[in-house]
């Protein structure tokens, strides 16, 4: 479960990079694409992570019981 959450967060972070407009494609040469990017990073990302927080906080707090397995 924690691994799934970590991967989801990383995937969301990756989604919120302008990977779709690298190089000379010209896709991001104008204002509207940057506005789309801003909406992705400023609205979609925090809203999605906030949803994850709401859904998984308690489960993460109780996940694993690592200390019993510790070996020096």
């Amino acid at each position: 479960m924690p691994l799934r959450i970590l991967l989801l967060v990383l995937a969301l972070l990756f989604l919120c990079t302008p990977f779709w407009a690298v190089g000379d494609t010209g896709i991001m040469a104008g204002l509207p694409r940057w506005v789309i990017y801003l909406v992705m990073v400023c609205v979609f990302f925090p809203a999605a992570v906030s949803f994850l927080v709401q859904r998984n906080w308690e489960a993460l707090a109780q996940a694993g019981d690592s200390e019993k397995e510790t070996e020096g």
């Binding site: 924690p2 967060v9 972070l13 990756f14 690298v22 906030s50 993460l60 996940a63 694993g64 020096g72």
Partner: protein, 492 residues
């Protein structure tokens, strides 16, 4: 610098003095609210921070003077590519969400004071815990030094040289030390409430005033397209790699700042911490993005500034604004108050955290029978001693040494694999976790230091931060090492 060039008059200085007095009063109130003379009370506010204080202390601590000064300057120079700052400020909170719920629970169950307490409890290695502390102390000392330098510059600029750089550093350091040693984290968190409110209002007002003055967003974007079309260009592959690498390294490194971890411990309950993080996720929208926008406006209105001049772009625009509309003087005062608030809230938190790591992680194991009251007193003396050491350094060291600051997050992020594996993976072993951390730190230093002395060693191999490659190596060592050791029969 002539006194005539002062950015604020007598009224502005009176506001600043009132602000500093308010910090001291809050510090004194923090002392009065003390419940007991224990380390948890002094360094974690008795683990009793409620939602409002928690939110604003997280906010004021995450946003330093760099947000107000450095971010606008970077946006001025790099244009839209600097939007990565919005992403990594949100990424930091998202990453903390992955480990905060469990770390908060464990800290309350086992009485952790510092980040290293978790490492000692989980890995049973005093060496590992001490190394984590030393890494954190080195990173935070850098943070304190750069912020002290920034506060001296701000004081000198604001008063037109009536208060010199050195006087500014010394005077404001003493103020920080007084309120911090009065009530520890409780005082620091309460002052963070005031500083956080000033910071948030400052960003909103400055953004609003500049937007209004320069014909709104459409006026700004039209001017940008005309005067700085280069800022609109799509990223090259190399720029994108740097973007991605910056995002990952800063997200992981800042998430694990020792003073940020201590705020997780200090939350009174898990639900309040959860709500604080949910709000924090949106704060870059109202802080980082606004200051980046101010930098873009500067690029459109005052193009052609060199790097050093571009760092002062916000101040320059506000100066022009008040020259045109003297009634807007209050915005300059608000901006300076926000700068002081952002810097002081960072320095006090970092200093308190360093003091706790030296006291709890490095000194206490050598003298385990020392009563907590004496340890707390020792911690206060350590704060004063550290500041006595750092103030002369901040005043005298040349700017050229600050290259080291750039790698602080690359160093800090090397503790993240052991933290995450330690929290959630039962099979992780102490040896691989320790070696992963050591190799990661060593490789980070190799690239960072080596690139300063030899052209053969790149600071960013294949366009990615050295610290990121080190992190990958670190994760592989912890993961593969723990798996292999676990499979080995114990009698071999």
């Amino acid at each position: 610098m002539s006194p005539d060039s002062a950015l604020v008059g007598t009224g502005g200085i009176a506001v600043m003095v009132a602000y500093l007095v308010a910090l001291l009063v809050l510090g004194w109130m923090g002392r009065q609210a003390r419940k007991e003379k224990s380390l948890a009370d002094f360094y974690l506010g008795g683990r009793n921070l409620g939602f409002f204080v928690l939110l604003l202390t997280l906010y004021a601590t995450q946003y330093s003077g760099n947000t107000l000064i450095g971010f606008s300057g970077s946006a001025y120079r790099n244009g839209f590519a600097f939007l990565v700052a919005v992403a990594f400020m949100m990424g930091v909170v998202a990453m903390q969400f992955v480990f905060a719920p469990k770390l908060h629970r464990l800290s309350h169950e086992h009485g952790y004071i510092t980040l290293s307490d978790f490492f000692y409890h989980r890995f049973r290695s005093r060496t590992f815990a001490a190394l984590i502390s030393i890494s954190g102390i080195i990173a935070l000392l850098n943070y304190v030094l750069t912020n002290l330098k920034a506060i001296g510059t701000a004081a000198e600029t604001a008063t037109g040289g009536k208060v010199s750089f050195a006087q500014g550093v010394i005077f404001l350091s003493v103020i920080i030390l007084i309120y911090e040693t009065l009530g520890g984290l409780r005082s620091v968190a309460w002052t963070d409430v005031l500083q956080g409110i000033i910071l948030a209002i400052g960003c909103l007002v400055i953004f609003g005033v500049i937007l209004f003055t320069y014909d709104g967003t459409s006026g700004v974007f039209s001017a940008l397209q005309e005067k700085r079309p280069d800022l609109w260009q799509p990223l090259t592959t190399a720029q994108y790699k740097t973007w991605l690498s910056t995002l990952l390294v800063v997200t992981g490194g800042v998430a694990i700042y020792p003073h940020a971890i201590q705020r997780i411990y200090a939350a009174s309950d898990s639900q309040k911490l959860k709500r604080a993080y949910q709000v924090m996720l949106f704060m870059p929208l109202f802080t980082t993005l606004l200051m980046i926008f101010v930098g873009w406006v500067g690029a459109a209105q005052i193009p052609g500034l060199e790097r050093a001049a571009s760092e002062g772009i916000t101040m320059r625009m506000l100066g022009e604004l008040t020259a045109r509309y003297p009634v807007m003087q209050f915005v300059v005062i608000l901006f300076l108050a926000a700068v002081f608030a952002a810097i002081m809230s960072t320095v006090d938190s970092a200093l308190l955290s360093i003091s706790s790591m030296i006291t709890q992680d490095l000194y206490r194991p050598l003298n385990p029978s020392m009563p907590e009251e004496q340890l707390t007193r020792l911690g206060k003396w350590i704060s004063w001693g550290l500041m006595a050491l750092m103030v002369p350094l901040a005043i005298n060291l040349p700017q050229t040494i600050w290259w080291f600051v750039q790698i602080k997050v690359e160093l800090l992020v090397q503790a993240l694999p052991a933290l995450l594996f330690g929290l959630y993976w039962n099979r992780v072993q102490t040896g691989p976790a320790l070696w992963g951390f050591l190799v990661g730190t060593g490789v980070t230093l190799l690239f960072a230091v080596g690139s300063n002395f030899s052209d053969a060693i790149p600071a960013k191999p294949f366009g990615m931060h050295g610290g990121l490659w080190a992190l990958v190596l670190n994760i592989l060592i912890v993961g593969i090492g723990s798996t292999v050791l676990r499979k080995k029969p114990s009698n071999e």
